[in-house]
């Protein structure tokens, strides 16, 4: 990662009448990075992406693409940008080649380089064999690839993909993810999705957006450590008194699940091995010892379903 800043967004607001679609969005994207933009439907993902790509104006706030303001210097900003909207902007009556040729012209690729650019882009997206076919006759997966090819034909610094794997079959999804990872090597990529495994398999950094606000921003590594919460479920045939359990080293809280099952909330000093030894020596008749890892999905639901995120005030403000 070279770390050069490609997108800088500051205090972005967008209103639709009385509805506040975006409230104070701040984000940056660096070269060589795949940023995952995660959120439930209607959270403001597409709105943000449309503003970043110059398709929608912000109510207030600043968007800088490759150092150029999207409103004041749109031509330079947009030249550094490739955008695949939620619905790929395809002319169904054209062949793949004709379509990409038009896109190349729109992006001001010199005439001499157009054929080369088309071939490179279609090769990267696996379109080499279908160049002469009408887009209308292609499958959804191939149409999506044409949409991505359109976004990368002019080798932009930044590629913005709005839900690129929607409607694809699992094999196509894997191929597209592979492609996105490749793009992340030399471009900066922003990817919006509500498919959680997609984030884990493709992104370096994640922003979770909810109700127009950034609810969480973290690297994927940071996210993983957050997910490794120290929660252990134990089942004891002859449970001791609660106080005795509470007194054990590293246990912060205990929740009784009934039938001798307990949920232990532990700190880092807790050791499951020690607990097992203790249970055996005290004859608590240990029947189960299961560490719980919360999934990204649980975390996502916790963040997005909690009212105004009041339950997680410390975790979220992390910008």
């Amino acid at each position: 990662m070279s770390g050069e800043t490609l997108i800088q967004v500051e205090h972005l607001y967008r209103d639709y009448g009385n509805l506040h679609a975006l409230l104070d969005i701040n984000l940056t994207l660096n070269r060589g990075e795949v940023l995952g933009f995660l959120g439930p439907n209607g959270a403001g993902k597409s709105t943000t992406m449309q503003i970043l790509s110059g398709n929608l104006a912000a109510t207030s706030g600043q968007v800088k693409i490759n150092g150029f303001d999207i409103l004041n210097e749109p031509r330079q900003a947009k030249a550094a940008l490739g955008f695949l909207p939620e619905q790929p902007p395809l002319y169904l009556e054209l062949t793949v080649f004709e379509y990409l040729e038009y896109c190349a012209k729109l992006n001001r690729i010199p005439k001499a380089d157009i054929t080369k650019a088309i071939n490179t882009a279609s090769e990267r997206c696996g379109l080499a064999d279908v160049q002469k076919r009408l887009i209308a006759n292609l499958s959804k997966g191939y149409q999506q690839r044409v949409g991505i090819a359109q976004a990368i034909i002019h080798k932009p610094e930044i590629v913005i993909l709005d839900e690129p794997t929607v409607g694809l079959d699992p094999i196509q999804i894997r191929e597209i993810r592979q492609l996105i990872r490749e793009l992340g090597n030399d471009h900066g990529v922003i990817l919006s999705t509500h498919i959680l495994p997609e984030v884990q398999s493709t992104c370096d950094r994640v922003i979770i957006i909810n109700q127009g606000k950034i609810a969480l921003e973290d690297s994927l590594a940071g996210l993983d450590s957050r997910l490794r919460k120290n929660v252990i479920t134990v089942a004891l045939g002859k449970p001791p008194k609660l106080d005795a359990l509470n007194a054990l080293n590293g246990i912060e809280a205990i929740e009784q699940l009934g039938d001798g099952r307990y949920q232990l909330y532990c700190s880092d000093t807790f050791s499951p091995a020690n607990f097992a030894d203790k249970a055996v020596s005290n004859q608590w008749r240990l029947g189960e010892l299961t560490p719980q890892t919360s999934s990204l999905e649980q975390m996502f639901i916790e963040i997005t379903c909690s009212d105004n995120n009041a339950n997680h005030p410390k975790e979220e403000v992390n910008t």
């Binding site: 398709n55 929608l56 947009k78 030249a79 909207p85 038009y102 012209k105 729109l106 001001r108």
Partner: protein, 251 residues
């Protein structure tokens, strides 16, 4: 360069769909019928033709004049998809996120439609030039009425492009452009005759497209009429650019 690419796309789009071919064949059929009728009545009774305008005036200028009326109906059909279609299919995102200005997009679209108009103009031009085999044409009158026809249809096309930027509903787009064209071509004069206040009446009369187009068919090329067409075309181009810019605001 970009403008030409967009114009070329627009033009090819027209010929990719059935519409252009139907329009062209329809026009050629109508023109042929008119030509036969006009020539027949001229040959049977030459003295019936308007005094002093001769065969060019009675046949060639009339055909161009009639064609401009045809375009009141044809141009909304040709332009209705121009932006409405792109907004409806969301292909507009391709244009809006490319490094091109709204002005270039609109000029490209309009240029494509003007080129199509020029292609359609080939039909009446060929038909009227066929008169050369039988008689001598008054070239001044011939070219001024051709110019009148082109300026009028360019205006209709520009109005159509503006109307299609108003909505992503294609039918509504066609209806709006036909309404604006009918109003400016014809209804303003009716309105002007109803209002007896001098300044308003004068302003309304000035807005009438037909009033500025008619002198061309009599062989008069007035700089004030030329200026009017330049102004009205520019106005609708600017309105379209502004409309599309504001589309990003409200959406």
């Amino acid at each position: 360069m970009i403008i030409f690419s967009i114009a070329q796309r627009e033009l090819r789009n027209m010929f990719n769909s059935l519409l252009a071919w139907i329009v062209l064949s329809g026009i050629s059929l109508i023109i042929f019928l008119i030509l036969v009728t006009l020539v027949k009545s001229y040959v049977e009774n030459p003295s019936n033709s308007l005094a002093g305008v001769g065969v060019t005036g009675t046949i060639a200028a009339t055909i161009f004049y009639f064609c401009s009326y045809l375009f009141i109906l044809i141009s909304p059909m040709l332009t209705m998809r121009s932006f409405s279609g792109e907004l409806k299919n969301k292909t507009s995102a391709l244009l809006f996120s490319a490094p091109i200005s709204m002005t270039e997009i609109v000029l490209g679209k309009c240029l494509g439609l003007y080129l199509f108009t020029l292609i359609t103009a080939i039909l009446p031009i060929l038909v009227t030039l066929s008169l050369v085999f039988g008689t001598q044409l008054d070239s001044g009158l011939y070219f001024s009425s051709l110019l009148g026809f082109l300026l009028t249809t360019f205006t209709f096309m520009t109005i159509g492009v503006f109307a299609s930027s108003l909505t992503n509903h294609i039918g509504l787009s066609a209806f709006s452009s036909i309404s604006i064209i009918l109003f400016l071509f014809w209804l303003v004069e009716l309105l002007a005759s109803l209002i007896k206040v001098d300044t308003i009446q004068g302003a309304l009369q000035y807005l009438s497209i037909s009033k500025h187009a008619n002198p061309f068919y009599n062989g008069q090329v007035n700089s004030s009429d030329l200026l009017f067409f330049v102004l009205i075309i520019t106005t609708f181009i600017v309105l379209t650019i502004r409309r599309l810019d504001s589309y990003r605001m409200q959406h």
